[in-house]
Subunit: 336 residues, 2 copies
């Protein structure tokens, strides 16, 4: 049976257009073996499916409500029980679909997924993760915003989940785990960090010690673990810096005729730099630790980026990530 | 009387060469009205002063010991009482010099300065601050690593100090203060952040609310306040991303003859981008809240960057920053 992936027809800055366009792209790849569905308001989604000529290829799951980007998570959870997000999560819980992908309201997606799917045995809190660009390809970074005030035990569990993800979804044998800190020495950081380091050192994980913000990008570590407040600030710092550099480049490269000519000649090289830094190439943030597969797409994702998020979900399903995390958590709890 | 600035002859990656070269640069600017001194081991510093022909223009303050970059702060504090750092801080405490600038071990500089100088009335903890590049020039960012586990009161005090700094040292009338958070809504973040926001909203500061990592660079805010763990991670994320982008640019711009030609023509534009992102242009991290002026230079600073750090110290002295912070803290404590 092919992998069944349900996408949220609403949410994100360009829904449903971009979402349906992404489905169309996948359907037209002859190599694709996934079964695709979209959940949401029929009156809005059917015309889009017709426009892209894929009505017969995508299953429509109806939902009557939409979580707005500005909805408070608690409200979305309580007052919109028939939202596309809620119905999507339930479809995964009930085994009708293998994974759910949404570009909608992040807080609401996390709250709803947690309520509907619950966490895997041994996992206290789910975490958001993202692959960020590095000198050697990418660094898997979590938690990027699902939790604040994480304890040492939470950080430890994030490390286990991150390690499992890279092993099964990316085929890295023994991922190098680093703990994000303000210095590499053991004496650095908060008590929570020191306790988490202690716990990681005593485990069978390939823990390489404390890492700093610079190490996120230098290829020296595969998984970087931190509290969600810190991960979110770091990720948004990254986005902000990249944007500023690209703006400055654009301004400088149009500042004189010679610079303009240079820019013209180096256009494709500059384009490749922009792509390498583009979060859309790394789109698809897994919500790890849930008893079901949910992937968050960036709200501003274009159709190509949205297909990347769908591909993250597909790999999670096909590599049996949930089984691997459950097994690892059990082994670790037995040995501690 | 001209402003008297004492620099640490040791510490940093290129001391004492770069430090003495920086002094020489300032001395040869005819507009310069500062009195300069260097503290450290005479046998090491005199040959350098002679090499740069400035022995007669720089006062030498002798110290017999050197804090190494790898010294634990507590050890540097207790076992190296006659280090250049310790003697430098004492010279400021005793009023012989107006400010001290060091490129040495950050943790040791903070610990020693705190012990020797103490904090200003009303300040619980000193903070490290840095001007980081933004779309409109710069954002003043603190704390970037002096404190972990800051309370709401600490964050509030950082905001007061940051506001004072921009008012007097940069001439910004009513600096816009933002609190670094994981979303702009009031419900976001930890309890500490929520309490700090409450406190800031009730104050006379120009508090614009929560800001995110992206806002550090978009010119929408003048002062961004956070705990030192978060500030340090964010700052190092910024350094890491900028380095990765510049590496990628270099690689792509030498990838083909056409790209190389383009790079050649746009060389000066690309150079200006690199300069804009270069921390050395913004070198000089004030240690705010101490009862004395201490400025930290980046350890890898070149001579030009080191002169920037000296200039930060000069502006702090000449604008009476310490008096302004003391006054603001008193006003705020009276009104709360």
């Amino acid at each position: 049976m092919s992998t069944r992936i349900l996408v949220d027809g609403h949410g994100g800055d360009h829904a449903p257009g971009v979402v349906i366009e992404a489905l169309s792209k996948i359907i037209h790849q002859s190599s694709s073996k996934v079964t695709l569905g979209v959940v949401g308001v029929a009156d809005i989604l059917i015309p889009e499916l017709e426009k892209w000529n894929i009505k017969g290829h995508v299953m429509l799951v109806e939902a009557s409500d939409i979580v707005a980007m500005c909805d408070a998570p608690a409200n979305a959870l309580r007052r919109k029980r028939n939202s596309s997000m809620h119905v999507g999560a339930k479809c995964v819980r009930d085994g009708q679909w293998d994974a759910f992908v949404s570009a909608g309201n992040t807080g609401a997606l996390m709250a709803i997924s947690k309520l509907v799917l619950k966490t895997l045995p041994g996992v206290d809190r789910p975490a958001f993760a993202s692959m960020i660009p590095s000198a050697t390809g990418g660094t898997f970074f979590l938690d990027i915003g699902a939790n604040v005030d994480s304890t040492a035990e939470h950080l430890f569990q994030f490390a286990v989940m991150g390690s499992c993800y890279l092993q099964v979804a990316e085929g890295i044998q023994s991922p190098r785990i680093g703990l994000l800190n303000i210095g590499s020495e053991d004496i650095k950081g908060t008590d929570v960090i020191k306790e988490a380091a202690e716990r990681l050192r005593g485990s069978s994980l390939n823990f390489i010690g404390n890492v700093e913000g610079t190490n996120l990008f230098d290829g020296s570590v595969d998984v970087v673990v931190c509290d969600g407040f810190i991960g979110n600030v770091s990720l948004k710092t990254m986005e902000g810096v990249a944007k500023l550099i690209i703006q400055t480049l654009k301004k400088e490269l149009t500042s004189s005729p010679v610079a303009k000519m240079g820019a013209l000649l180096s256009k494709s090289a500059l384009g490749r730099v922009r792509d390498a830094m583009n979060p859309s190439e790394h789109n698809g943030a897994p919500l790890l630790g849930l008893n079901g597969i949910v992937v968050k797409s960036h709200g501003s994702a274009d159709a190509h980026a949205f297909t990347c998020a769908i591909d993250v979900a597909r790999r999670e399903v096909e590599s049996n990530l949930l089984g691997t995390i459950t097994e690892s958590m059990a082994t670790i709890h037995q040995s501690s």
